[in-house]
């Protein structure tokens, strides 16, 4: 062997035999800390969207709680009564309204519980898993709140107008306060639906 030359043995790793070896080795662990403090060119708008997300969640809590309380505190007793019967209207006389109260309470609690996840999205805008979780849960909540709002709206419409074909009289002329409170609750619930839909679209843009 020529003493001026050197033989370098390069062993073939199993990954190279299979053609799966990476071109460059993985970057050292210290560069991970650098990446955390360097904002990439695209994370600025994601952070802004996440902040708007938290603000919308707070607004949604307000509307959902408003709907729940407005419907749950209905109790109107008419000033006249017969010998056996007193005319009183409460939300739990109608099953659709009971479902409405429960569903809106669940939505308000859900929005409050997902505020920490939104805050995680503000702090780490490049993470994808919390946003996917939020988009899925927000979609399910849109469905639940729309179900409650739609059912209650249908019963409120019937209470205002009645139905001649099914012989169902309109009760709003007598129970006036009850009807007003209940209608206001339905409007607040539809506002919650709009807020939740905007949250879903926000998460889609930020993904």
């Amino acid at each position: 062997m020529d003493p001026a030359s050197t033989t370098i043995n390069v062993t073939e790793t199993p990954k190279e035999r299979k053609g799966k070896a990476p071109l460059l080795s993985a970057p050292p662990a210290s560069s991970g800390i650098k990446q955390m403090f360097q904002k990439g060119p695209k994370t600025g708008y994601k952070r802004g969207l996440a902040v708007f997300d938290v603000v919308l969640r707070l607004a949604g809590i307000a509307t959902a709680l408003g709907a729940t309380i407005a419907m749950g505190s209905t109790d109107q007793t008419l000033p006249f009564f017969t010998q056996f019967f007193q005319f009183k209207a409460e939300f739990d006389d109608l099953p659709a309204f009971t479902f409405f109260v429960i569903a809106n309470a669940i939505t308000a609690a859900y929005l409050a519980l997902t505020i920490p996840i939104s805050i995680v999205c503000i702090i780490r805008p490049h993470l994808v898993a919390p946003r996917i979780l939020l988009i899925f849960l927000d979609t399910v909540m849109v469905a639940l709140t729309t179900a409650a709002a739609g059912g209650a709206a249908s019963i409120v419409y019937l209470a205002h107008n009645g139905n001649g074909d099914a012989n169902w009289p309109a009760i709003c002329q007598q129970f006036n306060d009850f009807c007003q409170k209940v209608s206001g609750a339905v409007v607040a619930s539809f506002l919650t639906v709009v807020v939740l839909m905007v949250l879903v679209v926000l998460s889609a843009f930020a993904l």
Partner: protein, 180 residues
Amino acid sequence: MKVGAVKLGVAPPAANRGIAILDFFLRLIAITGTLAGAIAMATTNQTLPFFSRFVRFRAKFNDLPSLAFFVVASSIVSAYLILSLALSVLHIVKANAVNSRVLLLLLDTAAMGLLMAGSSAAAAIVQLAHEGINKVNWFAICQQYNSFCKRVSGSLIGSYAGVLVLILLILLSGVALSRR
């Protein structure tokens, strides 16, 4: 050399194409459910065998405004789903489209809201027709109009299945958007 210049690993357009194919098939299922619900509700017509001199006892879907709203909403959503099949095919062909996926997600959310509103309005009326609320003099009509009630309840099942599939479609679009 910049560290970011060479991309390690493999970008997954293959997985996105699989998601797009699944999206297409789910859309077909949603169209079936929604359309079946709309047609079943729109073809309700039950006439009772007895009648008085002035009044004929007949039940149709447009006697109750909530059921009419349900028919309209279901029809709109099934028309939208049929038209969105085109966007779905586009996503199968071009697996890394971003803007059209966001648009599809937006429209799917709106469609799901509309379908759910119609279904829940109809469901509230159907529950009232089955049980009634005697306190406010709203009596149950299902004991008389038996086949009308059964048909209307069955059509709601189809549209709730459509809502479930739309939720899955929204989740799929979100997952596909996160994998670019």
